[in-house]
Symmetry: C2
Subunit: 350 residues, 2 copies
Amino acid sequence: MTLSHVRIIGSGLIGTSIGLALRAKGVEVSMADISPEAEKLAQDLMGPLPVASDCDVIVIASPISTISSVIKSELGSSLKPRFIDISSVKVNPQLQVLSTGVEKSDFLPSHPMAGREVGGAESARADLFQARPWIIDSREVSPELLQIGIELIEICGATVIDMPVDEHDKAVALISHLPQIMSSALASTLEGAPAQWLDLAGGGLRDTTRIAASSPTLWREIIAANSQALVPLLSRVIENLQDLASSLNSQSAIEEFIQSGNRGRSMIPGKHGGVARNYTYLPVVIEDKPGQLAALFDECAAAQVNVEDLAIEHSPEQFTGLITLALSQSDATKLYQHLIAAGWSAHSPR
Amino acid sequence: MTLSHVRIIGSGLIGTSIGLALRAKGVEVSMADISPEAEKLAQDLMGPLPVASDCDVIVIASPISTISSVIKSELGSSLKPRFIDISSVKVNPQLQVLSTGVEKSDFLPSHPMAGREVGGAESARADLFQARPWIIDSREVSPELLQIGIELIEICGATVIDMPVDEHDKAVALISHLPQIMSSALASTLEGAPAQWLDLAGGGLRDTTRIAASSPTLWREIIAANSQALVPLLSRVIENLQDLASSLNSQSAIEEFIQSGNRGRSMIPGKHGGVARNYTYLPVVIEDKPGQLAALFDECAAAQVNVEDLAIEHSPEQFTGLITLALSQSDATKLYQHLIAAGWSAHSPR
């Protein structure tokens, strides 16, 4: 089977991006949204659409709280209605779908892990899902729908990962929803602090609070829908903090607390899904003006090294920047020698 | 007065870096460390030293727990012993110093805010403090010692900020110690999680747990010494998390929780100590191979734009990278048009 027509309900970031990816491969796409303006924008982005034949599948890309009502209103839109959702949480939508009478065989729960800090059709892009994980739960899904779902995901360029819905929800509670909550809780303690204190903020505070800038309307739905998986994690982290608070007079208890964090952090894999790599870090001080980064990366190219990651750091009233490049140990040594020879203010890799 | 001889006790990262900065400006430096190997390494880095005259000031750069014993053993090392410390916490060291009988006029509490993820003399560098904030508490300090301290800080290239010790401790508890604790608490919940879950980790988890890799021996001292300022912050954050845990059925309560984090995050200033800038973000997809970043920054230079910050993102099994450049709005528009014209896979700035 090859996809010929996909109907997408919800023309936000994810729905529109799926539409763009499908259209780029010649698949017919029809879109609907409760907002006529949003629907129009998405249709404009999609280009002129042919008169629709019956659709192969209906993608539910609307907010979690709307899923059952969308299903009900879409049951008549196809001779053989089959559904895929794209929510960040999976147990709750499945319950909503089953409550409408739709069978498990006709609903493929899915979650493309391609979040952005911005939403809306205007932020959509056909390559949003390129090489990102896209989780499905294939259990009890009809072979036809499963094939349609996998084809759709592959057209979007994503990697299929099969995982039961309840395991999915526990996994994202841990790796996505709890980090959001911890970052927001930390950032909210900054409210009301003197500006002079915040002027002293370094990279640690910036990193830990970056995702605290996320959308409240998106996250209220995600957190509420995944509360069951979040409750034990929140209890654990609260207990952990309470234990620390009552052990502040014990250096060994504090040390064990920090060590436990070391161990957890080391479990996060490096890029390409491999095991965590111990990068070597190479600090370079540059002038904060146009062209300096380009010149630095010219040197990286000349030295034929691969930069795995990098950080830019500025201080209050500072007009130089500290660039920390992450490389393999051998590349770091090679680049360091290259930069020193070329007169750069590079410091020993570590 | 001009500094002629500074005695430094403790040849770790900070002590040795101060020594290197002073030597670079021709100031005589003598160093001592309880570890003969560490002392020897620091002396080697410092180069041959002339026979020492009486020192102008003694810099205590040893662990917080050793400060009073260092003071006692150093009282006889100078005709007029005057002290500066460099600890990350300020009330506790001051109490230790006063307990030895040293007057407030002869002790300048100070804190160079130039942490690193690595320690030891081997990581030291003369420019470690360049353009970083260096906090002092000048109250009741003799004019001579204050002048010596300011000269030392300026030789190191840092910016003097005068702040009472108790205010300092509250400020760093909020902007440095609490973020460390939250990051460690979050990372420690990852212990024991299935590897398949962690393979799904995105930038959010990586950012929020980056500082969880910090040194347990360094942080046990800092957190224990600043427990007084940390207790109310920990209580506040625990209460905040408990409130959320008991409101997971209320979308409006969750929304307010995330909004409060938005407000706190927006208080962190951008670079140069100015008010927070709303950067415009420009996503660019590049191939993950040597030379691509260089080529991208060549384009930035050609377009004459200033990159304020950037992030590199990889996914599991992904062999392309998403570079997100942060620029001013006008620079983002200019660069976007430039990159598109040059055939890059750039996406609309947002």
